[in-house]
């Protein structure tokens, strides 16, 4: 038998607050498996009808961008004004476009 881990793994919790909205990260918790993580998430994060759907992801499976590379990572989009509608001119009188 494999050795039992000391602590239950950590899970990130995502809640959909209502139909039509996406799941949003609300926090984390520890649980032995996914089923328990969902049950625990219901018990702490949806105590006042905050959600209708829960996702849990084991924290070790979340891969993130590096905050120290925030500049090189995201700056390239800062000078691309032509990606926004206001960059383009339309004659007066066409109304809303």
């Amino acid at each position: 038998m494999s050795e039992i881990k000391k602590e239950w793994p950590l899970w990130e919790v995502f809640i959909r607050s209502k139909q039509g909205l996406s799941h949003k990260h609300v926090g984390s918790l520890r649980a032995a498996d996914a089923k328990m993580a969902i049950e625990n998430a219901r018990d702490v994060y949806t105590r006042r009808s905050e959600g209708i759907s829960i996702w849990v992801v084991e924290s070790v499976n979340v891969h993130a961008s590096n905050p120290t590379e925030q500049g090189p990572m995201f700056e390239p989009s800062d000078d691309k004004v032509y990606r926004h509608p206001t960059f383009y001119e339309v004659p007066e009188g066409v109304g809303h476009m």
Binding site: M1, S2, I4, K5, K6, E7, W8, L10, V26, G27, S28, L29, R30, A32, D33, M36, V44, R47, R48, A64, N66, P67, T68
Partner: protein, 323 residues
């Protein structure tokens, strides 16, 4: 050569510290993986874990009355409140983990006495009115502190505070309702409410910690915006808000020096017994031993459940793999 490298590193750290402080000054939140001074991380872990421990230990004096609540209405309210506090503990332990603190170690530090928790929870709940006084005063004081912390500089801490504050609002109201109903009841019930106020008032004021003159770390914590107000400022806010509530309930705050100061625009109040405060912090309050013992027992006696759940989870996982 070595010295040159060391100097270079020192300069880099200094520069990063300056950038960090500039972010704080601009009210930009710090997130878990951002660079931060080691002392900022340590101070935060200490403050957040103390806060977490207080939520968890705080369940004990109130849980004492769940089975003896005088009506079903009171019982469901108290049960829901105590469950909320367990959640608050969880949010805060999770926030500590985002800074690399080990959950189990954090909890063991509480059990070994290395970590502190709010001194207020070392007082006993000897009558039902104490449950009212705790909700009204203890949660009331906690709310003043936590509302301020919603703007704290560390993202996960601030977000936990926003959620906690939403949940806290009913805690104080249910406590105040208990107190006002007793205060308007029979003379014996009114006396019970007054007695609870007499015993919980001063310890509630101590919850904000030592006076500013005696809290040397406040300045750094304010600069880092880990704290947004000093202990004395928060204490004054709480007193100013609570005096009227006592009046409406028809109860007397046990402080003969309590008086509105027109010039300051605040209530003046009497001297806090700091000797008592430090004594309770040191472990000599009426219930310190009992509280830690209860926490330790819960951890030890729940061990087999946690192990069994983990063993079951691993077994299920290997079954899925085999299939």
């Amino acid at each position: 050569m070595f010295n040159f490298v060391a100097m270079q590193v020192e300069n880099d750290v200094k520069q990063m510290e300056e950038q960090f402080q500039a972010k704080i000054d601009a009210d930009i939140r710090i997130e878990p993986r951002d660079w931060m001074p080691e002392k900022y991380r340590k101070t935060l872990i200490r403050q957040m874990s103390q806060h977490a421990h207080s939520e968890v230990v705080g369940m004990l004096p109130e849980a004492n009355w769940i089975t003896r609540a005088p009506s079903l209405r009171r019982k469901v309210a108290l049960l829901a409140k105590v469950q909320d506090e367990a959640g608050h503990g969880l949010y805060l332990y999770s926030a500590c983990e985002t800074l690399g603190a080990d959950r189990e170690e954090t909890i063991d530090d509480l059990h070994s006495g290395k970590a502190k928790y709010s001194s207020i929870f070392n007082y006993p709940t000897i009558t039902w009115a104490d449950i009212g006084a705790i909700g009204w005063l203890v949660d009331g004081a906690a709310i003043v502190n936590q509302v301020a912390l919603q703007k704290t500089s560390y993202g996960p801490y601030a977000r936990a505070m926003v959620k906690i504050c939403k949940e806290e609002s009913f805690h104080q109201r249910q406590g105040y309702e208990i107190i006002t109903v007793l205060a308007n009841g029979t003379p014996a019930q009114k006396a019970m409410a007054q007695d609870a106020l007499n015993r919980w008032w001063w310890p509630s004021l101590m919850m904000f910690g030592p006076t500013d003159a005696d809290s040397p770390n406040t300045q750094q914590s304010m600069a880092w915006r880990i704290k947004r107000h000093t202990n004395d400022e928060l204490r004054q806010m709480f007193i100013d808000a609570t005096v009227k509530q006592a009046e409406v309930a028809g109860l007397t705050i046990p402080d003969k020096d309590l008086k509105w100061n027109e010039e300051r625009g605040h209530y003046d109040f009497g001297e806090i017994d700091w000797e008592e405060f430090y004594n309770v912090i040191k472990g000599n309050g009426p219930c310190n031993k009992q509280r830690i013992e209860a926490r330790r027992k819960a951890k030890e006696e729940g061990m087999w459940v946690r192990e069994a759940a983990m063993a079951y989870a691993e077994k299920q996982k290997s079954k899925v793999k085999a299939a």
